[in-house]
Structures are given as structure tokens and as C-alpha cells.
């Protein structure tokens, strides 16, 4: 019941209304009917007043009900089929699901290779992959080519940084725990990759304001593969990029990326690279 209807109709007024008294002023009838619409207690009192005071109306209501009931009963409400809750679509689009599944698959393969033996020397594949893996999901989160509903989404009120961030958060929320779990057996500590991972994600979003999130994510992944992953795999030595000494640099990159994203937040509302 609503807060505003703390004052209720008087017993006299409800009684007069039930009897269909023509003496009630029109504005009073209006006010009473408006109140009855929102106040269940007064409706109950009205129905009681009708039953006790106005047998003619009461019997009419009973007749109408008995006439209606047979036709009301057969229309049982249909059970809708299993529904996809709106909150799920609000965080993840169906397009992102295969990419996230692929990400998990890649983590498992990297873990298996790490555990299989020291084929790659000192380097852990899980560690090398961890910072870039969420980018796959981020790429699919706001992509013109991959998302069939992109045009509809881009024109909706909720489009923009808000939606991009929401989808990015759900990617991180799914990928980071998988990486944490995989990091245990692989002997990789989260401290080494979590900050680079967040920094790269924010960099992808920041660059995405200018060239599109998908292009930015794919570009960063390519850079990472060539610049960070390839050298240790070739030389079979630890990567310096993921040392604890380089963490301040990653922190700086994260702050920079976040700053750019906030400063350029308006750029996410229109289609990136309008000049296609």
C-alpha cells in the first residue's frame, strides 16, 4: 500500500457510496474512488458495507461471479518455458560465452603443458598467458563484427562506457578465478599477473575509445605475443616484464588507462570510428 494514503475514507462515506447515495458531492466521489484504487483496506470495508447494507448489489455481484466462474477456470496460466533471466543478459551477451569458454580451455592447456614437464624451461605458460587472456572476452564484449545485436545495442540508452565496463567486469569475474585456480598447481602467484592483467584490460578499453574495443584488444594481444611471450619461450628464461620489480610500471599503466577511459567516457556512446 502506498505511503500517501494514511488518511482513510470515513465509515459514513463508504456506506453512502455503497448504497449509491446521490447526495455525495462529485469531488468527494472522485476523491473516494481515487483512494479506493490504491487502498486495499478501504476496498475491503466497501465490500463489507455492500454485503451488509445493500443486498441488491451483493446478490448482483454473486450472480455475475457465478456467471463468470466457469469461463475463468479453464484458462489456466501457461507455464512459460525455461527463461533466461534478464540480469544474465545484462552482464553477459551470448556472443561472449564461446570466447570465455575458449579462454578457460587455453588456461587448461597451458596448465597441462606446465605440469607435463619443463619443456619451456623456467617459464610458466600460465603466467605468460594470464595477463592477456581476459582480453579475448573483452574483445567480444563490445564488438561490431562479432555481436549481431551491436547496432541495436549501440543505439540503446544504456550503451556507452557503463555497458562496456559491466561486460568487462563480468569477463574478469569469470576469467580471474579460473587463472587463480590454475596458478596454484602451476606455481604462479597472483601478485605477478593480476596487476598486468588489469592494466592491459584498462589499456584495451582506453584504446578502444579511439579505434574500437575489439581492435584494441586484438592489437594488444598481438603485441603481447610478440613482445613478451616470444622472447622467454625462445631463450627459455624468465620474463623480466612480469618481475615483481616491474609492478610499479604496470600500476602506472593501469592508472593511465583508467584515467583515459574516464576522460573519454563520452566516446563510447557513438559507434567508434564513424568513418568506416
Amino acid at each position: 500500500m502506498s505511503k500517501e494514503s494514511e488518511e482513510h475514507a470515513s465509515v459514513r462515506l463508504v456506506g453512502d457510496y455503497a448504497r449509491g447515495d446521490t447526495d455525495i458531492a462529485a469531488d468527494e466521489v472522485w476523491a473516494l474512488e481515487a483512494h479506493l484504487e490504491v487502498c486495499a483496506a478501504c476496498r475491503a470495508r466497501l465490500s463489507a458495507a455492500v454485503e451488509t447494507g445493500v443486498p441488491a448489489v451483493a446478490s448482483l455481484v454473486v450472480t455475475v461471479w457465478s456467471g463468470l466462474e466457469p469461463s475463468l477456470q479453464p484458462t489456466a496460466t501457461m507455464r512459460p518455458r525455461r527463461r533466461r533471466p534478464v540480469w544474465l543478459s545484462a552482464w553477459l551477451t551470448p556472443v561472449m560465452a564461446p570466447w570465455l569458454a575458449m579462454t578457460v580451455g587455453v588456461v587448461l592447456i597451458a596448465l597441462a603443458l606446465d605440469l607435463a614437464g619443463p619443456g619451456f624451461g623456467e617459464v610458466s605458460l600460465v603466467l605468460l598467458l594470464a595477463p592477456v587472456l581476459p582480453l579475448c572476452g573483452v574483445a567480444a564484449a563490445w564488438s561490431r563484427g562479432l555481436d549481431p545485436a551491436y547496432e541495436l545495442t549501440a543505439a540503446a540508452a544504456r550503451a556507452g562506457l557503463h555497458l562496456v565496463l559491466r561486460r568487462t567486469v563480468s569477463v574478469l569475474a569469470l576469467v580471474v578465478p579460473v587463472l587463480l585456480v590454475a596458478g596454484g598447481p602451476a606455481g604462479v602467484s597472483a601478485a605477478q599477473w593480476l596487476l598486468p592483467c588489469l592494466a592491459l584490460t584498462s589499456a584495451a578499453l582506453a584504446l578502444g575509445a579511439a579505434i574500437g574495443v575489439t581492435r584494441a584488444a586484438l592489437g594488444l594481444m598481438a603485441l603481447w605475443a610478440v613482445g613478451v611471450m616470444a622472447p622467454p619461450l625462445i631463450t627459455r628464461s624468465e620474463s623480466t616484464v612480469l618481475d615483481t620489480d616491474s609492478l610499479p610500471v604496470w600500476g602506472l599503466l593501469l592508472a593511465l588507462g583508467t584515467g583515459v577511459v574516464i576522460a573519454r567516457r563520452a566516446a563510447y556512446t557513438t559507434v567508434p570510428g564513424t568513418t568506416r
Partner: protein, 273 residues
């Protein structure tokens, strides 16, 4: 308890036309100017956006939907400029948009799809189920609402697209080629729906079918090579042609006459408006 009439609906309008463009120029790609110096004012009613292929209809509609940013000129929706970046959110809540090539998630049911779009359009959470049901009923898909989108025929998919455009009760409704794939019965129902919507909404329908315009539109906007060729009622467009011009109906003859000789249309437009 919801009120029958909200305060927002009783608020006086602060604009004369829901859509107003002045000197609008939109560049697509590096060099091509799809909309080139357009002056256009559209109010309540059904406006048929006609023009040959590549006239810039889709680009104009995308700009009206605030997806594309105008390169030059002013574009006002509900009296507010949308040329600036950002601040589109409040405007977009009042727009319904059906893109020409409209994509959707195949595994969603019609209801899930329209519900998701209602969420994206920030329809208040409590109103969503009723709004979705109403939109689905309006396009005649109520009996298929719980089927997956991939199980629907092309015409039904398009109707689902129209339903998602209607779900937020838009004040400006932009439909890009909405009648493609509809069978004749559906097309007639759709025209009735358009006429009903046109009584209180600014509906812009892009089409290349002249008969759609004759049947449902209160106003024709003829568009060629990014410029406005003619704006007026369907009768005025029919009057522009004579028996010498190619076409099977008066409207088609008027269409070809105006496209062949744009100057005549502009002169008439000045006189009529």
C-alpha cells in the same frame, strides 16, 4: 499503483518538431558525404522517407538514432542538440529504432529478446513485463512469444524487431525498411499499426516501396544523393507527375517526376510548406 497520466506526459513541450535538422552533413568513410546539407523538420505523424538506393536514407536514420555523429550542421531531437558527444542517454530513452540489417541473438526467445531490449532502453523494471507483452501483441507475435528467434520466419523476425522498437513507447520511432519480408496481410496490419502510432508519435519509415507511403504515411520526404528533393503529402507528390512520367500509379509517376527534375519539387515544397 501507477498513475494513469504521469507528470512527464503533462509537461508542456518545449519544441515544435520532434526532429529538426539544419544544414546537416554526415560523412561516411573518408570521402563520401551520405547526407549533404539537409534541412528537415518532422513532427507528429508518419513520415515516409523515400529515395533510390544509396540516397543516404540509412545514414540519415542512423544519425537520427544518435548512432552516427553528424559531421556538420545541427540535429535536434526533442529540441535538444545531439551533435555534441555524450548526453544521449535521456534522448535515446525516447527513441525506438529498427535498423535495416538488424541482428539478434538466435537462442533468445522473442520475449527474452524484447525484454533484453527493454532493459537496454532503461524501461523501469516494474513496467518491463507489461511493456514487452504489449509490444509483442501489437505486432501480432503473442502466440509465438516463447519461441526461439531462430525458429521464426523472416517476416516474424522483422515483426520482433518492430516490437523491440516499440517496447519503450518511443516518441520518435525510426524504422529502416520495416516492410521487407512481410507478407501482404502482415504489411496491411503493419500499415494500420503505423497509422495508429502516427497519431501521437513521430514515425520515420524509410522504404523504397511507393505503395507503403501511399497507404500509411501522412507525409513524404523524398531524398536523393543526400539532399532533400521534396517534402509534402502523398497527394502533392502524386500531383507532381503526369502521364508522360514512368510509373504504374500516380504516386510512382510523381516520384519519378520529382527525381528527374528536383527543382520542381523544391519549388512546390516552398509553396506547400
Amino acid at each position: 499503483m501507477t498513475r494513469a497520466v504521469s507528470a512527464a506526459e503533462l509537461r508542456p513541450r518545449t519544441y515544435t518538431h520532434a526532429i529538426r535538422a539544419a544544414g546537416l552533413r554526415i560523412r561516411v568513410g573518408r570521402t563520401r558525404t551520405a547526407v549533404d546539407g539537409l534541412d528537415l523538420s518532422l513532427g507528429t505523424g508518419v513520415h515516409g522517407l523515400l529515395g533510390p538506393n544509396g540516397a543516404g536514407k540509412t545514414t540519415l536514420i542512423r544519425a537520427l538514432a544518435t548512432v552516427l555523429r553528424p559531421t556538420e550542421g545541427t540535429l535536434e531531437l526533442f529540441g535538444e542538440s545531439v551533435a555534441s558527444v555524450g548526453g544521449h542517454r535521456a534522448v535515446r530513452r525516447r527513441i525506438g529504432y529498427l535498423p535495416q540489417e538488424f541482428g539478434y541473438y538466435k537462442r533468445f526467445t522473442v520475449r527474452e529478446f524484447v525484454e533484453y531490449m527493454a532493459w537496454l532502453k532503461e524501461v523501469p523494471k516494474a513496467d518491463v513485463p507489461a511493456a514487452v507483452q504489449r509490444a509483442v501483441e501489437r505486432v501480432g507475435l503473442a502466440d509465438r512469444a516463447d519461441e526461439r528467434m531462430k525458429a521464426l520466419s523472416g517476416g516474424m523476425v522483422r515483426r520482433a524487431g518492430i516490437a523491440q522498437a516499440l517496447v519503450n513507447d518511443p516518441e520518435v520511432l525510426l524504422l529502416d525498411e520495416p516492410t521487407v519480408g512481410l507478407d501482404p496481410t502482415q504489411r496491411m496490419r503493419f500499415r494500420d499499426l503505423l497509422q495508429e502510432l502516427g497519431t501521437d508519435t513521430c514515425v520515420v519509415v524509410s522504404t523504397h516501396l511507393v505503395e507503403d507511403v501511399a497507404a500509411a504515411c501522412t507525409d513524404v520526404v523524398l531524398f536523393a544523393e543526400g539532399r532533400l528533393v521534396f517534402q509534402g503529402t502523398p497527394d502533392e507528390m502524386a500531383a507532381a507527375g503526369n502521364a508522360d512520367h514512368p510509373g504504374d500509379s500516380p504516386l510512382e509517376r510523381g516520384y519519378s517526376a520529382l527525381l528527374a527534375d528536383p527543382a520542381a519539387g523544391c519549388a512546390q515544397e516552398r509553396g506547400a510548406w
